[in-house]
Symmetry: C3
Subunit: 316 residues, 3 copies
């Protein structure tokens, strides 16, 4: 694998899932693979799970992980070409990425969208500038439109929790939130569900929250949440801001919050969320604290997803 | 040892002190004990000694230490149950602690008190939430009411500096400060002196600065600083805010500052302080720069205290 | 080598350059030299290259590197002696440096100048306080007046790019900038060019930007940039604020920006800059993106410079 930005970089999703599950069984099976190798983890935004699980994954492979919060420990980068840099940006990504590419074997980067300029975000301008100039493989720790380490984790977690011969019904439902959030997680989950192909995948959200069809593809969209949830085996909960009316909050209807009542016509569905989750806004306490929630197991699997990705990149 | 929050977690203080002193003699004697183990060090507040000494201690045991300044690199945690999280907190400790428990073998946490709500602080609400949900052993890097790694260090340092057959007289004296500080260090020192039992322990402070008797126990309290210091072998200096009039500064009398004059009726007492110390407010330059100060040795011993604690937890 | 603050600490610049180039050929040749040793990297200011390259260099030697952003993760240090510390500083450098000296085998520190008080900056008050109290070797990660790891890198890079029998003409040129910057990089480059002795060294800048002669020594100073650049083999570009009219911006003349036009009478000079560089303010895009720029190679060499310095200090 040459980089890890989207499913396009993955020769086989099922094989990558198997590699991850093998690491879960035996975390140190490849603990010299990363010897004398270093992954630079560059954060332009906050992170808990992605940061910590990738550090642990690197160590499991015998690889060094160097964390750099460039937004706090460094300075602001210029992402536009041809600019006279007499403003707030101190260094151009052309230099910053190329220099970090001199120091690290893999460059892992988190770059959130601004949610102001749809074209800038959806052309993935920031992470593409890093890819263009780094000169080493780049791993996305979440970019403007996708969060592939999260989605790989999600596939792993569904696979672990499904032993039936038929495909599970997986429903991704929008839920309310107090802030305007990126579409990266839902875009990415849809892309991976489509690429994996082992689920009957449904998306439900209020009108106006349609995702970019580039990612949602042929997934069935259902505007009635109750109808969508009927018979669901897995419910993937997430808020996002509007893609059409870009970055806007169009709906704050708390009846979209996931409660036990909402889940009663599911097939005792397992509940998933990428976390962090705002309790009693996105999902009710009773669900998160109940037996159907698998959000902690899901977050734990982040280690094995990251380890599979780093190992495949190390193997080239 | 299952966790390290207070003396209640320590089967034998003298034995733990001996383990630490053995590491001081031979830092790398157990340098494979921590192989493939990781301690997550979670800071909700600033730290110098605790942070750096624990990192060094972990490395001495062949263990990885991952530092996470959750207040700066992550987001604000919700500590209260049942809340509708539509405010400033982005993640509940139920998820954050449980997820970090998935990534680390030991979770070490610093959580300062708010000094506003005595009950919240003295029930140790924050660190107890971590203990409840982490699912792995928790080590306190200083909590609302106690600082056990500091106190273990203090016992080690007294033991190192005392070769007489009789018990040393150890006097903990309050001293002035410009800010309202927690009672964690004096509470903890008192608790450890009482649990250790190898010192004649006296506490001196202005009226109104009495500590919670849960920690001070049967220690002799003397309101006259000069009288308390008479014949002292060790003087442990520390400011704290009032426990009774909770979190308040009741006294700014600079005559409580520790000077050479103050020490002249001691038994050439060794001077201790947990650091950081405000010079010429808490302790005079002449004392800190003089031959009686052992504050640097004391700070150096933090490594061996942390190493003893981590090793005992690794051994289960 | 006992410390690394300036050329005065280096027994032989050419030998140190050779050690660095040997590491570049074989990064892991001494990968057990640093076993059980730790370098503490203390930042009072932001850093990208210095931070990351030194971390990688330490790992190459099998040494642990612990990063501590004391300005963000700790608190403000008092640098003045005899002060009553009732203000904003929480800990004196006497304690902070001595304590960190207990934890680390080498203390590496970045301390920028205030650019307000010339005497305070030029006596290197801050780093000298660390040296005085640390009790272990101190490595400068850039101090008020010098940046020796950068300058060693620069000599390495010139040597790598010069195979002629005669000395190259190396021209350091001032260039415009929007902020008042320290003189540390140009002072240091001048000091190292003089100590190395293998270049015909010229400095060009507008009047009023003369550097401290302690560092520029006998270097030829030429106020006409075009004349200075004639026949140059290497052009070292850097902005600095005035030393004479201390810390001030005296000139914003954009005609000093380095462009292809400016370079046309050079000997196809290689272009160097320590980075970060503000594009189209200090150096034009056409130069940085053109074949004469070696700024990325130069930044990459930071690893080998740091590795040479750490290894020589480990060897004592």
């Amino acid at each position: 694998m040459k980089q890890f930005i989207s499913t396009d970089d993955v020769p086989s999703v099922p094989r990558l899932v198997d590699i991850a599950l093998n690491y879960k069984k035996d975390p140190f099976r490849d603990n010299t693979l990363g010897q004398h190798k270093t992954v630079g983890m560059i954060f332009l935004n906050p992170s808990l799970r992605t940061r910590l699980s990738t550090q642990v994954a690197a160590k499991n492979l015998g690889m060094e992980a160097v964390v750099f919060n460039i937004d706090k420990e460094g300075w602001q980068l210029e992402m536009n070409d041809g600019v006279v840099m007499n403003g707030n940006t101190s260094e151009h990504v052309k230099e910053a990425a190329a220099v970090m590419g001199q120091y690290f074997d893999i460059l892992a980067i988190r770059t959130f969208p601004g949610l102001k300029n749809k074209e800038e975000d959806y052309t993935e301008k920031y992470i593409n500038q890093f890819i263009k100039y780094a000169g080493v493989p780049v791993v996305s720790l979440e970019s403007a439109t996708l969060h592939p380490l999260q989605s790989l984790t999600d596939v792993i977690t569904i696979k672990e929790n499904w032993q039936q011969p038929h495909k599970p019904k997986v429903v991704m439902t929008w839920a309310p939130h107090v802030r305007a959030l990126p579409q990266a997680v839902p875009n990415s989950f849809a892309q991976w569900m489509n690429a994996w192909g082992e689920a009957d995948f449904v998306i439900t959200h209020p009108e106006g929250y349609e995702l970019d069809e580039k990612f949602s593809g042929n997934a069935r969209i259902e505007y009635d949440q109750d109808k969508a949830l009927e018979g669901a085996d897995f419910v993937y909960v997430k808020n996002w801001s509007s893609y059409r009316d870009y970055g806007k909050i169009l709906n704050t209807d708390s009846s979209w919050m996931v409660t036990n009542e909402k889940l009663k016509h599911t097939n005792a569905a397992k509940i998933m969320h990428c976390l962090p989750v705002r309790r009693n806004v996105v999902i009710a306490d009773e669900v998160l604290d109940g037996p159907q929630s698998i959000v902690i197991q899901e977050a734990g699997n982040r280690v094995w997803a990251a380890q599979a990705v780093l190992s495949e990149i190390l193997k080239g």
